[in-house]
C-alpha cells in the first residue's frame, strides 16, 4: 500500500465547511491527480482549527505550513509551488509577520493560538490513575519545593503575587484567603476542596478531577502547609462517580508513595485527605452550606462573618477553595508568580476554563487567557452558532449569572468586566443561545432551577423567587401585563438585597439581565402577545390556511382534543378555545396548510 510523503489537512469544521472547504478539498484532489501525485500526497479533512474567521484552512504536513483563506483556485498554486517545488505560497500565509518570520527562519511560527492550558495542562494527556505519569509531568515538585525551600509565608506571598483569584465564581484573591486562614490560631485547621459543581451545563471541575486528580491533591497539601492544616477534605457530589473513583485511586497512590501521610519530604509536615459526599444540592456550593453538609447537618448557609477561615468545619478555621483554583497552584509554584501574572488582564490573572454548551458547533471544554473576548470564544474556538443561525445571547455564570448580547461580544472576559456587563464569571459554564431561544423562557428556566434549589431558610429567596417564577410563567402564557414587568424588577432588587446567601443574592440576575438586554422581547410578550422565537406555546396559534387545505381530514382525525372541524374535501378550521397547541395537526398535514402564528 502506498505510504504518503505528504498530507494536506483541510479544515472541515462547520464554519470552514460553509466557506467552501469541500470545494477546496476537491480542487486539491483534482490538482494532485492531474500531476500524478495522488499516490504520494493525501488530502484529509479535519475538525475545527479554531481560526474560523480565516477559513478555509489548509495545513501541509510534515512541514506544518498553515494556509488561510484558501480558495479552490489556489489549489494549483499549492500543488505546483509547495508540493512540487518546495516553495511556500507566501500569499496564503496567515499574516505578513508570519511570512516574514518564515523568510528568516524557514518555518511557520506559532500563530494565533487562542487557548492556553494551565489548569487543564495534564487533562487528556496523562493517565489519571498512574501517579508516576503525573510525577513524570513534574508532579509533586511544587509540593517538594514548598516544604523544603520555602516558609509558609513565602508560599502565600508567591500565590498573592501571582494574582490568582477564586475560580469558583466569586473571584476572591486566593493568596489573601490563605493568609487569613494562616493567621488564625487554632490547634486544628482544615483544607477544604469545593468540588460541588452545580451550574447546569458546567463540567470543568469534574473534568479536572477525572483527568488530573493529583494536581488537586498536591495543591491541597501545599495549602495545608501554608495555613497550618494537616487535614484535607474534598466535598464532591456523589453524582460524579468517575471523579470520586479517580480521586480515591489518586489519594491511595499518593499515600503509598509517601506524598500524603506523615513527615512528607522529611519536612515534619503531615497531611492527609478524605472525601465527603454531597447529595447534589446547588446551595451546598456555598461555603457555609457546604461545611454544614459535611458536618452532617442540613445543607443550609449561615450568615458571614464569621467566615470559614475563622470558624469553619467543626468550628475550626477552614480554607475553602474550588477545584480549578487548586489545579492552578502547582504551576504557579513551579513556573513562578511573575509568569502566571504575565497572562491575563490587569486585575484577573491567568486563564479560565469554560464549558461551552448550547447552540454552538464545538461544544466542549476550553481554557483561555483572561481577557479573551466572548467573540473569540464563541466564533473562533466555539466554531460559531449551530446551523448557521443568528447569535442571540450567551449565558455565563449559571443561575447566578446573566445573559449577554451581541453588544457584549467584544467584552474581554474577566471578573470585573463580566460584572460590569450585568453577568458574572461564575464557575465557567457558558451557554450559547440563538434566535430560536426565547429570553423570557430562559429566565424562567433559571428561576425554575433556583426555586427547586433554594434551601428555604430565608424568605426573600424561598418566597420571592417563587413569585418571580410565577410572574414569568404568566408572561410566557400571554397573560402578563406591563405592571408585571415593573414588579419583576422591583421584586428582583429586593431579593438581591435581602437574601441570606449567594444563591438568593444572585438568583434574580437572569431576570434582571434579560430585562435590561431584551426589554423589547418582554414587551412583545406582554403587549403584542407574541414570542418572536416561537417557543412560548401560550402565545402561539395554529391556524389552517383555507386555500391550501384540501379537506383530507388527516388533522381532524389526529387532533387529540377534537379542536378541528370542517366538511370532507372542504376547508377545515381550528377552534382556538379548545386547541392545546400540541402541533400534531402541523405534523400530519401533507399540504403545508397548517400555519403557526
Amino acid at each position: 500500500m502506498a505510504k504518503y510523503r505528504m498530507h494536506l489537512l483541510v479544515c472541515d469544521g462547520t464554519t470552514c465547511h460553509a466557506s467552501q472547504s469541500e470545494s477546496v478539498k476537491n480542487a486539491l484532489q483534482d490538482c494532485l491527480e492531474l500531476n500524478n501525485l495522488e499516490n504520494e500526497v493525501k488530502v484529509v479533512s479535519t475538525g475545527c482549527f479554531g481560526y474560523c474567521e480565516k477559513g478555509p484552512i489548509v495545513k501541509v504536513l510534515p512541514d506544518n505550513t498553515l494556509y488561510v483563506k484558501v480558495k479552490p483556485g489556489d489549489a494549483e498554486k499549492i500543488v505546483k509551488e509547495h508540493i512540487l517545488n518546495g516553495q511556500i505560497v507566501k500569499r496564503l500565509l496567515p499574516t505578513e509577520t508570519v511570512a516574514q518570520v518564515y523568510a528568516s527562519e524557514g518555518k511557520t511560527p506559532f500563530f494565533d493560538k487562542k487557548q492556553i492550558r494551565i489548569a487543564l495542562r495534564n487533562c487528556g494527556f496523562i493517565d489519571p490513575e498512574n501517579i508516576e505519569e503525573y510525577i513524570a509531568h513534574d508532579g509533586y515538585q511544587a509540593l517538594c519545593k514548598c516544604l523544603t525551600e520555602y516558609t509558609p509565608q513565602q508560599v502565600i506571598d508567591i500565590i498573592k503575587r501571582s494574582g490568582l483569584r477564586g475560580r469558583g465564581g466569586g473571584g476572591f484573591p486566593t493568596g489573601l484567603k490563605w493568609e487569613i486562614t494562616a493567621k488564625v490560631k487554632s490547634d486544628q485547621k482544615y483544607v477544604i476542596c469545593n468540588a460541588d459543581e452545580g451550574d447546569p451545563g458546567a463540567f470543568m471541575d469534574r473534568s479536572i478531577m477525572e483527568g488530573d486528580p493529583h494536581s488537586v491533591i498536591e495543591a491541597m497539601a501545599i495549602n495545608g502547609y501554608c495555613t497550618g492544616a494537616n487535614k484535607g477534605l474534598v466535598y464532591i457530589r456523589a453524582e460524579y462517580p468517575l471523579a470520586v473513583k479517580r480521586l480515591k485511586v489518586a489519594i491511595d497512590q499518593a499515600r503509598a508513595y509517601g506524598l500524603l501521610g506523615k513527615n512528607i519530604f522529611n519536612s515534619g509536615f503531615d497531611f492527609d485527605i478524605e472525601l465527603r459526599y454531597g447529595a447534589g444540592a446547588f446551595v451546598c456550593g456555598e461555603e457555609t452550606a457546604l461545611i454544614h453538609s459535611m458536618e452532617g447537618k442540613r445543607g443550609e448557609p449561615t450568615f458571614k462573618p464569621p467566615f470559614p477561615s475563622e470558624h469553619g468545619y467543626l468550628g475550626k478555621p477552614s480554607n475553602v477553595n474550588n477545584v480549578e483554583t487548586y489545579a492552578n497552584v502547582p504551576v504557579i509554584i513551579n513556573k513562578g508568580a511573575d509568569w502566571f501574572a504575565s497572562i491575563g488582564t490587569e486585575k484577573s490573572k491567568g486563564s479560565k476554563v469554560f464549558a461551552l454548551a448550547g447552540k454552538i458547533n464545538n461544544v466542549g471544554l476550553i481554557e483561555v487567557p483572561m481577557g479573551t473576548t466572548l467573540r473569540d470564544v464563541i466564533f473562533k474556538i466555539g466554531g460559531g452558532i449551530k446551523g448557521g443561525k443568528e447569535f442571540k445571547a450567551v449565558q455565563t455564570g449559571g443561575p447566578s449569572g446573566g445573559c449577554l448580547t451581541s453588544h457584549h461580544l467584544d467584552t474581554p472576559i474577566d471578573y470585573d468586566n463580566l460584572i460590569a456587563a450585568g453577568s458574572m464569571m461564575g464557575s465557567g459554564g457558558m451557554i450559547v443561545m440563538d434566535e430560536d431561544d426565547c429570553m423570557v423562557s430562559i429566565a424562567k428556566f433559571y428561576l425554575g432551577f433556583t426555586v427547586d434549589e433554594s434551601c428555604g431558610k430565608c424568605s426573600p429567596c424561598r418566597i420571592g423567587n417563587k413569585r418571580l417564577y410565577e410572574i414569568l410563567d404568566k408572561i410566557t402564557k400571554g397573560e402578563g401585563t406591563m405592571e408585571d414587568l415593573t414588579k419583576l424588577r422591583n421584586l428582583s432588587e429586593v431579593i438581591k438585597d435581602t437574601s441570606l446567601c449567594g444563591l438568593g443574592q444572585t438568583s434574580p440576575n437572569p431576570v434582571l439581565s434579560t430585562l435590561d438586554n431584551f426589554w423589547e422581547e418582554y414587551v412583545e410578550h406582554v403587549v403584542d402577545k407574541k414570542c418572536r422565537a416561537g417557543s412560548c406555546k401560550g402565545l402561539m396559534k395554529y391556524i389552517i390556511d383555507a386555500e391550501a387545505c384540501t379537506g383530507c381530514t388527516a388533522c381532524a382525525r389526529a387532533c387529540p382534543v377534537n379542536a378541528i372541524s370542517g366538511e370532507r374535501k372542504g376547508p377545515h378550521f381550528i377552534n382556538q378555545e379548545i386547541c392545546i397547541k400540541c402541533g400534531t395537526c402541523m405534523e400530519k398535514c401533507k399540504f403545508n396548510a397548517v400555519l403557526l402564528q
Binding site: 504518503y4 484529509v44 479535519t46 510525577i135 469534574r206 468517575l242 503509598a256
Partner: protein, 129 residues
C-alpha cells in the same frame, strides 16, 4: 514501592518513566512502540470510548502490533467524542475524533500500519505550558 522523600526521588521516577513504560508486567520502550491514549472522561465513556479502547487493545494484539493503549482524561472535544490520541514512534501525536469501532479499525489499518492520515483529525488549537 518507592517512598518519595527528596526531589531526587521525584526526578528519578520522572527519568525512568521516560525510559520505559510498564503495563501489566510488560516493559515497553516508548521510542519503539505505538502509543495510544483514549479519552476516558465521563463524556468519552458516555459516547462509547471504553468499547473503542477494548477493541484497540484486542485488535492490536491480534494484528501483532506492539502498542501501548492507556486511558486519559477529557481532551475537551465534547463535540467529537470518543477521542483518541495516536503517537507513532518518532512522530508527533495525532488526535482523532468521533472514533467508533469502524474508525478505530481504519486507524489501525491505514494510519498505524501505513502512516496514512485519515479524515476526522482534530487539530491542536491550544498552547501547552
Amino acid at each position: 514501592m518507592v517512598h518519595v522523600k527528596t526531589i531526587e526521588d521525584l526526578k528519578k521516577i520522572k527519568e525512568e518513566f521516560g525510559k520505559r513504560i510498564q503495563v501489566s508486567g510488560k516493559n515497553f520502550d516508548p521510542e519503539k512502540v505505538v502509543q495510544i491514549k483514549v479519552g476516558l472522561g465521563t463524556s468519552g465513556i458516555a459516547s462509547g470510548a471504553k468499547e473503542v479502547m477494548n477493541f484497540l487493545r484486542d485488535e492490536l494484539e491480534k494484528r501483532n502490533i506492539e502498542a501501548l493503549v492507556t486511558q486519559t482524561g477529557d481532551m475537551g472535544y465534547s463535540y467529537a467524542e470518543p477521542t483518541i490520541e495516536v503517537k507513532l514512534p518518532g512522530q508527533p501525536a495525532v488526535v482523532f475524533g468521533k472514533v467508533n469501532i469502524k474508525k478505530a479499525d481504519e486507524i489501525i489499518e491505514r494510519y498505524i500500519k501505513n502512516g496514512e492520515l485519515i479524515d476526522g483529525i482534530l487539530p491542536t488549537n491550544y498552547l501547552t505550558i
